[in-house]
């Protein structure tokens, strides 16, 4: 089973929830879970799960390189490029690597075979064993690189789950392409929100993405502090199960700031996470 923890709004507690769930399952499941930190622009799950990242692999995009002596400036490459990453301007063919998605269409369709593909590194994927036997992997996007999706895609491919192994993906915030790529192929979306208008607003967007992708969703309300009826009404009206409520507590904030999961701060949370997991399994 693949569970992706997402939120819409940033800073609601995705990583806290994802790592705490991984911790709880590591103790209880015959095979400890596989944890993928898909927030490749700012991965931070390692701070909670302390993996030994002993394997690495570069992630590169194949960028076209034009041999001007073979190029007849026919314009086929520019015509086929959806991202306008290649342009034929009079007697010059220009490549804009930052816009290239590495699809290879220009290379495949060049009638003169004037294009070769050059790998352009954009980041790295790393893996190793973490606390409690958790299989851990993460992607890290290089500073200044604009595209996170190819790294997430390669990360997912690089570490397949063992039979019976639960996969937990920690998604980036927002609802754009990296989030969609993190969610793609998941069995369940665990959406972490907070009882604020901003939290609700972005939860609404995240739910829309989940529904569009046909993936069942459940909600965790983090930092609950008194009642915020609008959020509960939204979940009720949209048939979204509220799977866990975590109170707004100074002890939790202090523990998280020290790199502790909820389970390490309050051991009784292990049971709550396992019950939630059983509930998710029953919903599928």
């Amino acid at each position: 089973m693949i569970i992706t923890v997402a939120s819409g709004k940033g800073g609601t507690g995705k990583t806290t929830i994802a790592t705490s769930l991984a911790h709880s399952l590591a103790v209880e499941q015959p095979t400890p879970p596989l944890f993928l930190d898909c927030d490749v622009e700012a991965p931070n799950a390692h701070l909670f799960l302390h993996p030994r990242l002993d394997e690495q692999q570069d992630v590169a995009l194949l960028i076209p390189s034009v041999n001007e002596s073979k190029c007849t400036h026919c314009g086929k490459c520019a015509e086929v490029c959806q991202y306008h990453a290649i342009a034929v301007l009079g007697q010059k063919t220009l490549v804009f690597p930052q816009l290239c998605h590495g699809c290879g269409s220009c290379t495949a369709l060049c009638p003169e075979k004037a294009i070769t593909e050059i790998p352009d590194r954009m980041g790295v994927i790393e893996r190793g064993l973490a606390t409690g036997g958790i299989s851990f992997a993460r992607g890290v996007l290089d500073v200044g690189e604009p595209m996170a999706v190819p790294i997430i895609r390669q990360l997912k491919k690089w570490v397949p789950a063992k039979p019976g192994q639960v996969v937990i993906r920690d998604a980036p915030p927002g609802t754009s392409c990296p989030v969609v790529e993190s969610m793609r192929g998941s069995d369940f979306l665990l959406l972490v929100t907070e009882p604020t208008p901003f939290g609700l607003h972005d939860l609404r967007l995240a739910i829309q993405v989940g529904r569009e992708m046909g993936i069942p969703c459940g909600v965790i309300i983090n930092r609950e502090n008194g009642s915020y009826p609008a959020l509960d009404e939204f979940c009720f009206d949209n048939h979204l199960p509220v799977l866990l409520r975590i109170p707004f507590e100074r002890v939790i904030a202090e523990g998280v700031a020290q790199g502790k999961t909820l389970v390490e701060i309050h051991p009784e949370y292990a049971d709550r996470f396992l019950r939630m997991f059983t509930q998710i399994a029953s919903l599928l």
């Binding site: 990453a85 342009a87 009079g90 604009p146």
Partner: protein, 127 residues
């Protein structure tokens, strides 16, 4: 000489469009005969690389100059590679006025991009 202007609508009296890549229309004018045609900008609706797409159009017209209110870094690089001179509207209100001033040599020529790159982080991708 053929020139291309970025315009809001599709005639010589059109208001100028200050954007290059995202301009609504592109007006192609022959400054010798004053013959002209207007086409909708193929870059206007692009999800990314709008400036490059618009520059490609200008190059395909065999134009020698482009006039707009703004040239981003990609558009600048593309137009420069094609040997197309870039000029700014300044306080020109409509295309007619800009053509007259261009012919009179009164428009400011651009030597570098007039702004930084737009936030490309969402181009197919990130948060």
């Amino acid at each position: 000489m053929k020139i291309v202007l970025t315009t809001v609508s599709t005639n010589l009296d059109s208001e100028v469009d200050p954007l290059f890549g995202r301009a609504a229309n592109l007006l192609v004018v022959d400054t010798d005969t004053l013959e002209w045609k207007a086409e909708s900008n193929p870059g206007a609706g692009a999800s990314g690389g709008a400036g490059i797409r618009a520059a490609q159009f200008v190059a395909d017209q065999n134009a020698q100059a482009a006039i707009s209110g703004d040239f981003g870094p990609h558009a600048f690089e593309a137009l420069q590679a094609a040997g197309i001179a870039m000029y700014l509207y300044g306080d020109c209100k409509n295309a007619h006025q800009a053509i007259e001033r261009f012919i009179a040599g009164q428009l400011q020529r651009v030597g570098g991009p007039t702004r930084g790159e737009c936030d490309s982080s969402h181009h197919g991708q990130s948060a």
